[in-house]
Amino acid sequence: MSLRAATGAVFRREMQLFARRKSDWANPIVFFLIVCSLFPFAVGSESEKLKLIGIGVIFVGALLASMLSLPRLFEEDARDGSLELMLASSEPLAVLILARITALSLGLGAALTVATPVFALFYALPFDVAGMLALSVALAVPTLLLIGAIAAALLVSARGGAILTAVLVLPLTIPTLIFGAGAALRVLNGQSPVAELALQGAFLLLALALCPLAAAAALKISTD
């Protein structure tokens, strides 16, 4: 099997799973919705106050929702045996992992991006800010999944699961959080978000270059 065929097969399988198991994308969206709706209860319902925290809450919510989808990447495959097949394949593991992450980013990223501007209405954010926030989330989700894939790969055979994933991944996502929420904040303050978007793009490219290799090494360590 050629590399292209193998990558295509991995990608198609992931997309098919995503289309057939509705809970894979519906649960993160519902989780995202619930997180976003919890904050007004805690801080009060005045729209001026909500406007100030809205961007941060929505961005962190999207970040947590995509983090909760990380076990999907390798854990289920390890249980049903398809991970073994991927490891035994003669094609480079990093490329296959990249195909998986791409498929998950497209599916989950699209779902979260569509949900973001809707949830922005909760927080009385103007439309241009909501749009920028959606763009930020669209750029951030792949970066987060790429970084998270390393931790997910390491934790395939470890105790600790979701909490440990959060402990490992969340500190590394701080740059993405700063510039992702920063871009929307700029628009809210009537400034240009170009610098923040460019940096987010740079993080995505860097993660794209390094993370699949690290995740492949991690998977080899944990399934050794």
């Binding site: 934790l155 470890a158 105790r159 402990v167 740059p175 700063i178 690290a214």
Partner: protein, 254 residues
Amino acid sequence: MARTEQQSNDKFAGRWFWRYAAPAAFYPLAGKIEKIGWVLAVVLAAIGLYMGFFVAPTDATQGEVYRVIFIHVPAAWMTMVIYLAMAFWAGTGLVLGTRLSFMMSHALAPTGAIMAVVALWTGSLWGRPTWGTYWVWDARITSTLILFFLYVGYMALSAAFDDKKKGDRASALIALVGAINVPIIYFSVKWWTTLHQGSSVRPGSSSMATTMLWAMLIMTFAFWAYCVAAAMHRLRTQIIEREAGAAWLDGATK
């Protein structure tokens, strides 16, 4: 076990440095380094604290409060240095497959985390009288906090595997990922906000009184010696734990 140690020692005969990659060979040396480290730490800390608290002049703007600097700054430096050392030994372990390197980075991690806590704690005690608040979301404070998270993640991951070797390699990988991310995080946070006072120690042009500078440098070496001694102690404990049952160990620990 004892036989393989002997073999690896023979193989590297003549190259004294590599000889110490074997736990059996390094164990007694670690003991010596540990003793020297404790002595140096106590002596230097006594001199440094005396100079810092009694000899160094009162600060013109901050008064006596600034004296926390003699603990705060060395701890903050050690937080960063130890992370680099930890990542270095993790990388060495992954490349060469030497188990002593992994033990070395495990031995360093708790000391690094303690240094981060000391730096943050003394920093907030210093911040209250000078800035009027215990905590500021400033670039250096925030990156020390994140460094603390990375230490915790490293330790949690290495403890999460039943198979110690797997835990070694997995946590080594995450230490390297962290090391690549530290500068990115630092500059992101710096861009995000900054309020911290400028760095007071620069080669060539220092804005501090000479006695203050000396006291701080001596305290830095004291911290350094403490960290080396603590790491060596933990390393020896780990060697005993992991090599339990090896023939050489019975003789070495008697």
